[in-house]
Assembly symmetry: D3
Homo-oligomer: 341 residues x 6
């Protein structure tokens, strides 16, 4: 296989991150109750509020790659408010408190990041473990493997249309892959798994597998409003009333008509998008009726589950159970102790 | 209300039917085991088969307005086969047998309807109780009540596009309104009920009610293949893989774009079509989010249920229960005795 | 239609309300955090409590037509307690605070409403948008439309028996129509819709429709304990152990026997009450077996849903979505922008 | 325990049955394909029909304690028809055939039972394994154990009212206890179990346990139409539209009122009847809210299940599995081999 | 019946408890907001924490037979921490406060129980109402009633293996029988009920009933980690990944093999354990296929429910309803008023 | 990848089959109503029966790789019966009839296969498309890839124990992989897919993946009784009462103990077997709690579905839909037309 494995790509980027991170003081996951805080964080949102006795203060949410923390600036000033309004990233000093099990950052000092600070925004944003440009190239190369020229053109046109947003869109507002580049990362891993399952189940038509994966979630870009850091503020009006499955079907219908895609191929691809959630209560009124649509569903769910399992287990040590995870039907996951495996 | 009530229309047509029917000998529902049969029937389908000992015979299905019966022509001849191939309506003589509770017509004599026979095909076809032309006019007049010019144009364009097929399409392959003109009849009664509920719930936007009703099932015309007598042979390929709801959404998207319909109005109408089956397991991945979409669902289900109840009760006498009706969750319906009500 | 439409009735009363309301200072919905409060409110409940360090205070719930707010009187005095005990309506001055998103009224001054105050209790109570007397008359007039003399007498007797409570009973403890006169309002709108659907579906027996609607919820009067302002303190012992459906069936059985109602009619009406919630898990062990029972269910649910939709949308502007509404399966409702509709 | 155990009663009657049965030739369960038949059977129903070529024959259903068989009399005669019309029990000679796995009795000779025949109708009817008179006495003695005089009177009055029918009513149209005396047998075993569980759970109020058991199914007598042999032809009109649970509640309400039963006791008993099927989808809109209502449910279901298990296992040998039993969620029951247990 | 009834046993122990309890000052259930507290309590857990402004305090949970309360020691000292670490039971003085409906104990003084204090730990621990030694003897005596020598030996071996832990293990981490000796108490009552139902349903094989009850929950001892006061800290690793049903099956397989138990008997007993939760979603992938397995399920659920009902009703007066009980599907239980029952 | 791909193996064997098949006359799938039959078939079962008029005949089921057909030998003779009893394969001549849509083979002549016949039994038996010996070798080679020596030994021991039966066991009584070698084929394809997904999701512990796949269904060998041609006569007693999941867990427990496998590894593997059906209603009381258990489930279901899809689509032409497939929730599968893909 000429293409670098996802493991290889991943290691390189992760290694680089570890290095650069050290310059930012403490990451959010490192902040402990009772200790001092000092570091660069991304301002997710802030709001000016009043205490019970009428005093103004600022309530803000700070994030970095490692997590999120609520913070308070008890001494309000117009200047502070302006710093927050103008700087996506701020340098913060303060103390970490704990309030019935939840950490809170009491901010004592705060300034915007300036050019002398040796820190790039991209280093702070939670994002996929591979660079977007690298993922986008890999994803496009799968598009080129499609042998049917009509389907290949359709996929190519749609990728070009959404390329810019695909660069940073997350795959969800919260839950799995809800970070910058998440949609690309999700798509790429599904393509890699799909390619490999196609080696075992030789009767599968790979053109539909590749095209189905590439198009199945593309209209999440229309369903949600994300900023360029992968943070979704809300679903769009059309997203709420119709949803990305229906939007994706219309996309294929219309773009297919433009290039004279045969009706049959267009309908088969639309059916794959329609059925990929599998169960009516998850948004698919039809179940897969082709083997490629069936596999598409499993590629999708396997990638989502592997994401959830991997992240849940990162937080605990060997021989331990996680807390109940709501997303996984309240399971407590177990991390085996490492022996010689 | 200037428009004639559905009651008035109905009576006139029904009366006329009763009259013309008398010329056709026995209707299918009148055929009794052990008696002679003599009448005009529509040939739904026929097939040449062989008996266990290799003799050829013809197996055929006959229908009229009142029902359906399986028939056998035990003496095969090439001429008989040709008569069946060339004549949609035949005159049949024979005997009615019963075979473990099911009637069967043993055909003794058969000929095609000729011009001297005082019988029109339309009199034999199961169909809505109002003339299609009258229903189409009524339905169109509701389209004209839409005040918003964009929505009115959209609806008008789509009605014109499908007008010819709307004339005879049934509303389903089997079950409720599965006869010639059934789709029109279903639409008309929903419009009449919608108009009236709008008088009680004054805050409803009638433009969306009328447009929603007129468009909600229109793509059943694309979902099913019906002949001009309202008999559906099968679902179309696109119908099976996507379904009339998805097809209807695409129709509005594309026809709306053509006339510059505002995005908001287009999405709201698409949402109405998407949500009108209400439950995911019945094909609606989203529940209604506007009052007009909510009402559309109830107009639809009330009309289907009233159809089922009315027809089930026609078959029994006062003070009796029907058999279990599968379509209605195996209920046994009850027909009250008539007192002075 | 000789009878005034519900739209007409509604407008008149609403207009009058707007006028009188202006005399009461700020309504509860108008109270904003950080501002002063000054107005007449209904005392829903109050309790003397102690703070952590042993000081007495009064915790109270105030309501008016527009909403509800929690209030605190931090300086306890015996006199204040007595004012609250003796006056259903009080004039309050204070400040509005906000506590993690919830408003709270800090009461500084408080007195009972006296005769000089130009405010009537009825103006403060959340209630149906039409006068109870007017609704009661309209509802009774539907009772008189019943042609069957036995059924008409049964309905008349039961209405007379519960007339006084029907005047003010809500239709629920919370949720839809849970205000003074709510039961009457719910019944009236169902009668109006039922009458209209009867015009479309001519085979429906209107006597059963009218009687069914009039009796379906009447035993909510026995199921819940409501004061004369339509506030339900609790369900009754019989209400909890049996519920209004079972109570309503017994009512018809017993009142029917008294007047010699035919067994068949009595059972049919009991069946309508029994089946009107449709699904076993909502309290109906039998599904409707007559078309009139079927329609009764739809009249009921349409009116409840229209109530929920109308009120949810009142709180937002055009082009906006509501928050998730638990009662409506967590839907976010959408309010279309007004164009020329 | 002074009262004879159900085991004792049962053995006596069973032993007697075995003896008397020997006089009737072959029982229905003993009839085998390819062999002669000769015995007394009960005529459940018969009908005169015509073969395909127009010949008359008689189609009849014969039963005895051990089972049921379809029979044909191919040579029709008026006399034979009259014998069947006039004699509940007939003596039959013929041959047993098998038709795709189903046995059929070809009748060659047939006459009515006459006084010389040493066979009693009661010996042929499928019935409970204890004499009805004995069961009725036992059941009544439990009624007398009720200490509360009001409840005791209520139960006594209702038992007297239905005593005659209770003597022969089955507990169901088909399935468990669907034979003569089945309702009594079901009631008796529940009383015996209830008495014993009351010894373990001392806080239970036995008055409610006894009264609840005695009344819970009593209105099956109104729900179904049974002949005096325990064969149910159909459900009654009221049974279909309301059901025995609702009918039982009304019974308690009305009979309670007659004797001045306190409202609380009446409601508690009605609640027990209402909740005894436990799940809404099985007919109980409320779940048990008292421990006695909770136990009533378990007494009911245990008795039904033990009936099903006992009868299913009777038909197979040790170490074998039954076929799938639809009533028991398609379970294959297993009968352990007897060792020294 | 030679064996003392459970009622007799219970009264004796309860009476003794009432007496001894009086020496401990106020029980936890007697503590009221605004009053002083003075008594002996068991220290369930404690933790040193910091207030928002950095001061240390101790947060602790105190329990006795009657309930549980959160307490705070605002003045931290190393000595106090040591007292808590070394003494399972402490004498506490303080004040009871209430915080949004929840009681909290502000501790002013605290010392360890010393030998002069006239109080035994066992008097403070929530436990079954019968002494463990008495229950163990009774449970074993049922084991001896098993007639099949192989099964009797199997049961005896397993009881001996787990005897020590059985002495104090609860039947659950929380919910029914979650106190010291709960598992024994649950088992004993099931044995008593099983014995009695065997008198009514004479075909039941009592050996399997007794063995099934004795073994059905025995591996809760392996599933949960309980201290000797019956307090479960957590589930074991094997308990979480497999559960006590699977563990119990393996126990029977392995212990059965050791003593040469016949395969059939072993499998039947394993099947009883496997199926006793009845529904797949409650942990039983197979439904009972023998009558003894069927009854085992009902014995289990009846005992759990009676536990829940009895305890819920203890807390309220006659004629009252409990709050909604989550464990019982949010039912409000009703306690009938005592009349002469 | 050194190992030959499954595609390569498959083609070779399939090609060989096609060749050898031609020698057997017509395969069962080629038999058409009205035509002659002449070929070698496997005798699945036969029974001597009697016609209505008492004549003996033989009813038999014949199978080959391509399907199954019911046959009748109307002229009974002792010799014919003996031929059937002694020969697994017979040569048959006769005529194919059709009976209400079902084919039936009327046998005219029949003899046992003798040594001169150029046909091997293995050529007639429905079986996996790869030779068992080849599959077994491939499966074992995966066992050797396990790095943990304890787990490798466990898997090796269990494979050796069941090797002989694994050679021919099907994976199910009916449905997917229900043919000779089906269990091996299912296992092999899962191993191949598991290996490939491990390349994409690098954090997965491959030892558990390989061991989990190899052991997950191994106790189907104990659950079902199969002959050496892969035909399952029935489930075993233990299989019915416990099932292969429970049996597999006990297998790992016991075999693990024998070799001193660490408790943790044993429990993790048992958990994988326990959870691999994923949903309680499909037999898994616990959901996967490790990523390897999660993947195991998907490997299993993907292989089952691909089997079903592939076989369903083989029967139809491009551009066609299959009939409703019960196993796949009544879906109609669609086979795309081949273009240049």
């Amino acid at each position: 296989m000429g293409q670098a494995s996802i493991g290889d790509m991943l290691n390189e980027k992760a290694r680089e991150q570890m290095k650069s991170m050290s310059g930012t003081g403490k990451t959010i996951s490192e902040l402990k109750a009772g200790e001092k805080a000092d570091g660069f964080y991304l301002v997710k949102s802030f709001e000016v509020k009043k205490t019970t006795n009428g005093k103004q203060y600022i309530d803000l949410e700070l994030v970095d790659k490692t997590g999120e923390i609520n913070a308070k600036i008890w001494e309000y000033s117009k200047e502070t408010e302006e710093i927050l309004a103008e700087n996506p990233v701020v340098k913060v000093r303060g103390e970490v408190l704990e309030w019935s099990g939840t950490r809170q950052l009491k901010v004592n000092k705060l300034r915007g990041k300036n050019d002398d600070d040796d820190i790039k925004i991209s280093e702070l944003i939670p994002s996929a473990p591979i660079e977007s440009s690298e993922m986008l190239a890999a994803v496009k190369s799968y598009g080129k493997k499609i042998k049917d020229s009509e389907i290949r053109l359709l996929v190519s046109n749609i990728l070009i249309k959404y390329e810019k947003k695909l660069y940073y869109y997350p795959a969800a507002k919260k839950n799995h892959h809800s970070y910058m580049g998440g949609l690309l990362y999700h798509t790429l891993r599904m393509l890699q798994s799909g390619e490999r399952l196609g080696q075992v189940y030789g009767f599968l038509k790979m053109d539909y597998i590749y095209a189905g994966v590439l198009l199945h979630d593309i209209c999440k870009i229309l369903e949600m409003d994300s900023d360029e850091y992968g943070v979704v503020s809300d679903y769009s009006m059309e997203g709420k009333l119709l949803g990305h499955i229906i939007q994706g079907i219309k996309e294929i219908e219309i773009e297919g008509e433009k290039i004279g895609l045969s009706r049959e191929k267009s309908i088969i691809l639309q059916h794959m998008v329609l059925s990929h959630h599998y169960e009516p209560e998850f948004g698919s009124p039809k179940k897969p009726m082709t083997p490629e649509a069936e596999i598409l569903h499993f590629l999708d769910i396997i990638d989502a589950r592997m994401f959830d399992f991997e992240h849940a287990l990162e937080a605990i040590g060997p021989g331990q159970f996680t807390d109940k995870i709501w997303l996984l039907d309240n399971r407590n996951l177990y991390k085996p102790t490492d022996s010689n495996q």
